[in-house]
């Protein structure tokens, strides 16, 4: 690498050295070239020793990084070299983190796409042995139970958060905050057993109801809603509350008409993400809802199928021949992932469209 030619000095005699003058300059493609070189080198290694794909990638990344560092250090100096090194490390870490995510999505899509058809969405498992059948009942069950969960958790969660931020003081506030923290850590199966035990008190052992599942999921969802809503409400500037008080508006109306509307985007996002968090819960539904082959829309009457539990049973008790049930399990998993991703998109849209506008 040659030194870049210095710019011609200004006509007025001696110019001081310009700030930021570099010793040398690597072309932009140099780091890529280093990695390409590393890849070629590893191919040669491969021919000599035989490598698997993981090692291949690993060696390429390590060699490429070392190459970039050495090259930059020689031409551009130590500071730039460190900069490039850290960039390489960060990008590698990101790549590593993406591996499980991408491979999971790939696997689920590849296996689930098989049965992602009209029948899957249109039919239940009533009278299905072996081929065909669908998850209509499970999808509907998941929607009903999740809606019911949201119906229970969102008001309780939001009101608790409003209490904590706007009214709470002293001991009671500390106690509630502590309990919410504890609730966040409750294992989901415990929530399920709690709901089961609660309803068994009234309806006797062996009871299975949609509402039980909703209660169990609420135990998991309420703390998530409280936490996120609390954070969002805290972000509402105090000045807005004071502006409202100064207009002679009572506190409760200030909360309803100023604080909550200002925070509505964050609240909506938080609630949506909380729904996404519980929609895939399996363990509590396993003990509270059970499974059933037919469609049941009534959460107060008998068993209901839900997607996660459906996938679980299709996989663990596939019947003979097993392949059809296993395919259905993968498709159920795929639908579940699509639901969660859809909810995430909805959350983004909410925060986009409801955010306070400052447009001029």
């Amino acid at each position: 690498m040659s030194q870049t030619s210095t710019t011609p000095a200004p006509a007025t005699g001696q110019a001081p050295a310009p700030i930021g003058q570099q010793r040398g300059h690597l072309p932009r493609w140099a780091p890529w070239a280093s990695f390409a070189g590393a890849a070629v080198l590893v191919v040669l290694l491969d021919l000599a020793f035989g490598l698997n794909i993981a090692l291949y990638v690993l060696y390429t990344v390590v060699l490429g990084t070392v190459g970039v560092y050495a090259l930059t250090r020689l031409v551009e100096g130590a500071r730039k070299a460190t900069d490039r090194l850290v960039t390489c490390l960060v990008v590698s870490a990101f790549g590593l983190a993406m591996v499980p995510l991408v491979s999971l999505v790939y696997e689920v899509v590849a296996r689930g796409i098989e049965r992602l058809d009209g029948e899957f969405f249109g039919y239940s498992l009533v009278g299905v042995v072996g081929e065909g059948g669908g998850a209509y009942h499970a999808i509907m069950g998941t929607l009903v139970v999740t809606a019911l969960t949201a119906l229970i958790s969102v008001p309780i969660g939001l009101l608790t958060a409003i209490y904590l931020v706007e009214y709470g003081r002293g001991r009671l506030k500390q106690a509630i905050t502590f309990l919410v923290d504890v609730m966040t850590g409750i294992p989901s199966i415990v929530a399920g057993l709690f709901a089961y035990a609660l309803f068994a008190l009234f309806f006797g052992p062996g009871v299975r109801l949609g509402i039980m599942g909703a209660v169990a999921l609420s135990v998991l969802m309420i703390p998530v809603v409280v936490r996120s809503a609390e954070e969002v409400l805290k972000l509402v500037p105090n000045e807005l509350r004071e502006a409202s008080y100064a207009l002679g508006v009572p506190k409760w109306r200030t909360i309803v008409k100023v604080v909550v509307p200002t925070a509505i985007a964050g609240l909506g996002t938080g609630v949506t993400l909380a729904v996404a968090r519980v929609i895939g819960e399996t363990a509590p539904l396993l003990v509270t809802l059970g499974i059933v082959n037919g469609t049941n829309f009534d959460p107060f009457d008998g068993r209901m199928a839900t997607l996660p539990v459906y996938a679980y049973y299709q996989l663990t008790q596939p019947g003979v021949p097993p392949q059809f049930a296993i395919d259905r399990a993968w498709t159920a998993a795929l639908v579940l992932i699509m639901l969660v991703m859809g909810l995430n998109v909805v959350a983004r849209l909410i925060s986009r469209f409801f955010a306070p506008k400052t447009g001029r």
Binding site: P237, L240, A243, Y245, L247, R253, P261, T262
Partner: protein
């Protein structure tokens, strides 16, 4: 309708900390009263105790009397919310409601209190308030745009419009021009001079010229040391304060020999 305020023996606390001690003063109706003094001496605290905004802060309390036209504002049966409907406030930093349009911001005092008003009447009120705050010409074509999209000076005038739209008897202003350029400052000073025909105005300012320009009465607050309560050292006509004050401390502060 402008009203007079008589404060007697007012002590203002934050928890156990006595922030302002023993203030006795009479604020004249239809005039501008300026409060000056070094940072941290309790001007804002005193101002906020006049419309019971002080007690919004947890642990904050007040001893003494604030009487507005014969009515003790701190009497046990007085609702602070009522007090604030009669004594409006403009804050140091403009704080329009970000979720509301310019129109809704001005109408906020009506809307948030669920007062019923015909659309036409509300339109008139909004226009009158915006004209009163010298902002009408700048925003009349975009009343439905967000209030947060205005410049800082325009936002401050929007906040003034919002405060005068509820027709208070008294208007409290806490350093309303400290974030503004000289032109906006002048606009707001002109505005205050117009508004004093209708309201009693109390303004906190760090700007001596401003106090001298706009006010009839001036109060000088000071504190003797860190952790000590602030006191009202001198309260006199503005002319006297700036030419021949009774107290040495006032003269020192005004002529810049302070501290």
């Amino acid at each position: 309708m402008a009203k007079r305020i008589d404060v007697s023996d007012l002590n203002i606390y934050y928890g156990n900390f006595l922030a302002v001690e023993n203030v006795t003063v009479s604020i004249e109706p239809r005039s501008i009263t300026a409060l000056i003094g070094p940072s941290g001496c309790g001007k804002s605290t005193f101002l906020r105790s006049l419309n019971r905004m002080h007690e919004v802060i947890p642990g904050a309390r007040v001893e003494g009397k604030v009487v507005m036209d014969g009515q003790d504002l701190y009497a046990p049966d007085v609702d602070p919310v009522d007090v604030r409907q009669h004594i409006g406030m403009v804050f140091q930093r403009p704080n329009p409601f970000p979720t509301m349009s310019i129109y809704d911001n001005v109408a906020a005092g009506i809307r948030l209190n669920n007062k019923k008003m015909k659309r036409a009447d509300l339109d008139t009120l909004v226009e009158r308030s915006l004209r009163g705050a010298n902002l009408w010409n700048e925003v009349k074509d975009r009343l439905d745009r967000p209030g947060a999209g205005l410049s800082g000076g325009q936002q401050q005038r929007l906040c003034i419009a919002r405060a005068i739209a509820i027709e208070p008897d008294v208007l409290l202003m806490d350093e309303p021009c400290s974030a503004l350029d000289p032109i906006s400052t002048l606009a707001i000073e002109d505005l205050m001079t117009e508004l004093k025909e209708r309201f009693t105005i109390v303004i906190v300012t760090h700007n001596m010229q401003q106090a001298a320009r706009v006010s009839e009465q001036t109060g000088f607050f000071n504190l003797s040391g860190v952790g000590q309560p602030g006191r009202l050292i001198e309260f006199n006509s503005t002319e006297k304060i700036f030419s021949n004050p009774d107290e040495k401390a006032t003269e020192d502060y005004i002529s810049g020999r302070f501290g």
